[in-house]
Symmetry: C2
Subunit: 218 residues, 2 copies
């Protein structure tokens, strides 16, 4: 497996966690970004991924973009450990949690959006920071409510082993830390984050420690 | 099944398409919105959905929020017609297409984000409109590229019957039309949109025609 990756991006961390948890060997291929896409002269990476974003997973000649599609694909091909509960309701609940972050939080705080706000609307850095912090905090408040009110009590977001929900939550908390969002208001989220930090697959998937082109697993 | 819904919202259209395609009886329950959430005095709807957004599906006492989690749940429980291909690669591809819209397009153009830009940054209406049109056009360009370059040729986004990709694309094009995005640049997208319009489940799921509390199917 090849993972097209960028050390500064948040979404590839999710895929690295899945690959490491399942002990799937992979090669990281670093991808650079410019702030604005050049539609007239697309790069070879644009030819691989129509969105021009990371991550992309290449399983030989088969290419997948979008981290959740990649995670579901890997979970189907490498079922151990499973990252979704076996029953339909459990699956729906875990997917809801992951999607809260994947859809309504991370896309609002990512690089291309921050760049657009600064470049097109002349937003000062402090206002851009307020934008990012607002959506990160909103999503953490919602997630905290969701797990406190709706989840099966356990060590992780759903039960006692990591699921796709935690795969999404963990990098999201790292993102919030990087942008200085106060985290005291989210005790259930932070308890789960600390449980994840104790698992090598989560700890080693962080950008801070991950060397480029590292081979993981066997 | 009960669908918590709002006539002005885009995401519930996706769930209505799935319910109608699979002929699942459902009751629509209209939900009102204010521009800013009141965290101190949450409504009874906030108690149902930690994000306070629509859609929510209630299958008796089991509640799911996030449209893609709902769609996958319904596809598992009511497998006919299937909305995902049978093979892992086909599934990954269709999910990638749906997620391009679910994650990187719709959340940037939705009501709470538009309200935030106007309220917090004093963005004039024309600039807000430029923001919405920019992200809608970007995502349609990416989707057009994705289906032209990567998909199995067929009548729909993937093959000759509707999948979850079309369930996401159809309301997205309606959204783009409402915001005046020129659609000539997306001939493959518009060909698929017109195929969908000819299917009663898609046509009748549109907000324009859907009566409140309509019972669908048997």
């Amino acid at each position: 497996m090849k993972l097209y990756d960028n050390i500064h991006a948040n979404a590839p961390i999710r895929v690295r966690i899945v690959l490491l948890l399942k002990n799937i060997p992979f090669e990281r291929i670093p991808v650079g970004f410019s702030s604005e896409r050049n539609r007239t002269n697309p790069t070879s990476y644009d030819a691989l991924n129509p969105q021009g974003m990371v991550p992309v997973l290449a399983d030989e000649n088969f290419v997948i973009w979008q981290s959740l599609a990649i995670a579901e694909y890997l979970d189907e091909l490498f079922p151990t450990p499973p990252l979704l509960p076996a029953d339909s309701r459990g699956k729906a609940h875990v997917r809801s949690l992951a999607l809260m972050i994947a859809c309504d939080a991370q896309p609002l705080a990512n690089f291309r959006v921050r760049e657009f706000l600064i470049r097109e609307f002349g937003l000062p850095d402090a206002e851009m920071l307020r934008w990012v912090r607002h959506w990160l905090a909103e999503s953490l408040t919602d997630y905290e409510t969701a797990i406190v009110r709706h989840s099966t009590p356990g060590r992780f977001s759903y039960g006692n082993s990591p699921t796709l929900a935690d795969v999404y939550l963990f990098p999201h908390v790292l993102h919030a830390k990087r942008f200085g969002v106060p985290l005291d208001a989210y005790p259930a989220v932070m308890r789960i984050f600390n449980e994840c930090m104790a698992i090598p697959a989560f700890y080693n998937a962080r950008s801070e420690d991950a060397p480029n082109n590292a081979r993981a697993g066997k």
